[in-house]
């Protein structure tokens, strides 16, 4: 039987988890070229909400954990095909071909759109984990120091209990359908910006007529058949593998960056006072488990 047993109720565990959750941030940017278009993103996110469940099989399960995208900016650049004049046949040949044609002259050019989707919320639908105690030796601790000297220098050894995920699943980023309107307006603005200010309205109207419905044009250039919101979700989540990066970052953070609880070793029993040094007991063989009611930490003294 262990010398020490500490328990935290599921409610207390949830409060401990909330502290861990609130300290998580993730930021990344990247860019790439994908044939007919190039794309980039810049994201920063934090976690919120979520429900914690302790299970009798010694696992912790976190569900419906919100990903709040503080920054979610996407950039997509592509070549606008524009409008061509000429290109017709002047003198057809008798065999349905063309003996003489006029070369085409085309108006077009590169445009970039930068939809800003900051403020969106998506979800980590499931994190399944076990508790993992890790003994931490402060790398700043001088090997010659006693435990007491290390404490005075703020470099005590520690037992840290981490939530060690075995499974993290992030839902696809749910881009709202209203983004289609945003994209349409951005493309329209980008086309107008492509022209010098002196270009008359009729020329822009002609180009717009030649381009046809903007979203259909964007779909055909970028080469997708689904909705624009699905395209962006797929671009970020799969093409750039942002979902995988977040899953890895979350798993890494829970498993090794921020413990749900930590104990100083040796553990202080009585503080130093009146010229006496503090009383501390060494903790060995620390173990942590959960059941449906509580988290239990056991350890030996020695």
């Amino acid at each position: 039987m262990s010398h020490i047993t500490i328990a935290a109720s599921s409610k207390a565990f949830e409060k401990l988890f909330n502290v861990v959750r609130d300290n998580f941030t993730f930021a990344k940017s990247d860019s790439g070229s994908f044939g007919p278009f190039s794309a980039s993103y810049n994201v920063k996110l934090h976690l919120d909400n979520g429900t914690v469940q302790l299970n009798d099989d010694d696992t912790v399960e976190v569900k419906n954990l919100d990903i709040v995208w503080d920054i979610l900016k996407v950039g997509v650049c592509f070549n606008l095909p524009g409008f061509c004049i000429g290109g017709w046949c002047i003198i057809p040949d008798p065999w349905n071909g063309c003996l003489l044609g006029v070369p085409e002259i085309c108006i077009g050019g590169p445009i970039c759109i930068n939809p800003n989707l900051s403020g969106l919320v998506s979800e980590i639908n499931d994190v399944k984990a076990r508790l993992k105690p890790v003994y931490f030796v402060d790398p700043g601790r001088d090997p010659s120091w006693s435990d007491l000297t290390a404490e005075f220098n703020g470099k005590s050894n520690q037992w840290k209990i981490f939530i060690d995920p075995v499974f993290v699943s992030v839902d696809p980023i749910d881009i709202p359908a209203s983004v289609a309107n945003m994209i349409e307006n951005l493309v329209r603005d980008a086309i107008e910006d492509m022209f010098p200010s002196w270009v008359p309205d009729w020329a822009i109207d002609l180009l717009m007529a030649a381009l046809g419905p903007i979203l259909d044009l964007v779909k055909s250039i970028l080469g997708f058949v689904d909705s624009i919101e699905d395209f962006i979700s797929d671009l970020l989540g799969n093409t750039f593998d942002l979902l995988g990066l977040i899953e890895t970052a979350v798993a890494d953070y829970f498993a090794s960056k921020y413990p749900i609880y930590k104990f100083e070793d040796p553990y202080p029993i009585l503080p130093g006072s009146g010229g006496l040094i503090p009383v501390k007991i060494p903790i060995r063989q620390l173990a942590s488990h959960v059941n449906s009611k509580e988290m239990i930490v056991t350890a030996d003294v020695g």
């Binding site: 592509f78 004049i85 000429g86 050019g109 270009v199 008359p200 009729w202």
Partner: protein, 248 residues
């Protein structure tokens, strides 16, 4: 991804056409039916900008010689920066381009302007022609020539054959943003007869071509009479965004 803009402001600045002064919106087709070697000169106004050579060879399988006047000019005056962005160094039909073109006498020579301000005309004369033979001058279209013209600016235009005083009217409709991307319909053919155009009234869509077929010596001039700026914009929308001082 490397992307290059293809935007020539002259497309929007040059309203109207003149077969004696070619721009991006107008091309001329001519046939050199007599076998032999021809020497041509590219002119802009009174100035000779470049020379070129055409060989009409019965044994040639080539049915079309496309002569880009912008490229010819640029090749002859590489220091000039006024040729738009679409000049390609290869102009002729030889392995290295250049200013020599060969085609069958039954084929067609197309003179066109690929970019820049244009304003070109050409004169072509057989190398061994008699001194009295003035050769071909594109300012006066010969019977059989075709003047290919495009108008993209909506409005009402007059068309005049300066050589015959024939006249007519062209109405170019305003573009409409529809369910599908707009593509100009096939070009309309217009006969330039001794006294009239046939048809004399033409309804065009923007960017739709016109093929003026000269039955008699012709010089086609198209001028904008009344622009069509489309339906009025809803109040507050000018079509162009601009900075506006915020109201306090």
């Amino acid at each position: 991804m490397t992307m290059k803009p293809t935007f020539d402001p002259n497309l929007f600045l040059q309203i109207g056409l003149d077969s004696a002064s070619l721009t991006m919106m107008g091309s001329i087709v001519h046939t050199f039916t007599e076998p032999g070697s021809y020497r041509g000169a590219l002119h802009r106004g009174p100035e000779v900008r470049a020379n070129f050579y055409i060989t009409a060879d019965k044994t040639s399988p080539v049915a079309q010689a496309t002569i880009d006047l912008t490229a010819l000019d640029a090749a002859a005056h590489p220091a000039d920066g006024d040729k738009g962005e679409c000049c390609c160094p290869k102009t002729g039909d030889g392995p290295a381009g250049g200013n020599r073109f060969t085609l069958n006498p039954r084929g067609y020579t197309l003179f066109h302007v690929s970019g820049g301000v244009g304003g070109y005309w050409v004169s072509v004369r057989k190398i061994d022609a008699a001194q009295t033979d003035r050769g071909y001058d594109s300012r006066a279209l010969s019977p059989g020539d075709i003047f290919s013209a495009t108008i993209i600016r909506p409005g009402t235009y007059s068309m005049t054959n300066v050589s015959t005083n024939a006249s007519g009217e062209i109405v170019v409709s305003y573009p409409v943003i529809g369910e599908k991307a707009y593509r100009p319909p096939n070009p309309i053919r217009i006969d330039c007869g001794p006294q009239s155009f046939e048809p004399a009234k033409i309804a065009l869509q923007p960017g739709q071509g016109m093929l003026f077929q000269a039955k008699v010596p012709s010089h086609i001039v198209i001028k904008l009479l009344k622009p069509d700026d489309g339906p009025p914009k809803p109040s507050g929308i000018t079509g162009r965004r601009g900075w506006k001082k915020p109201e306090l």
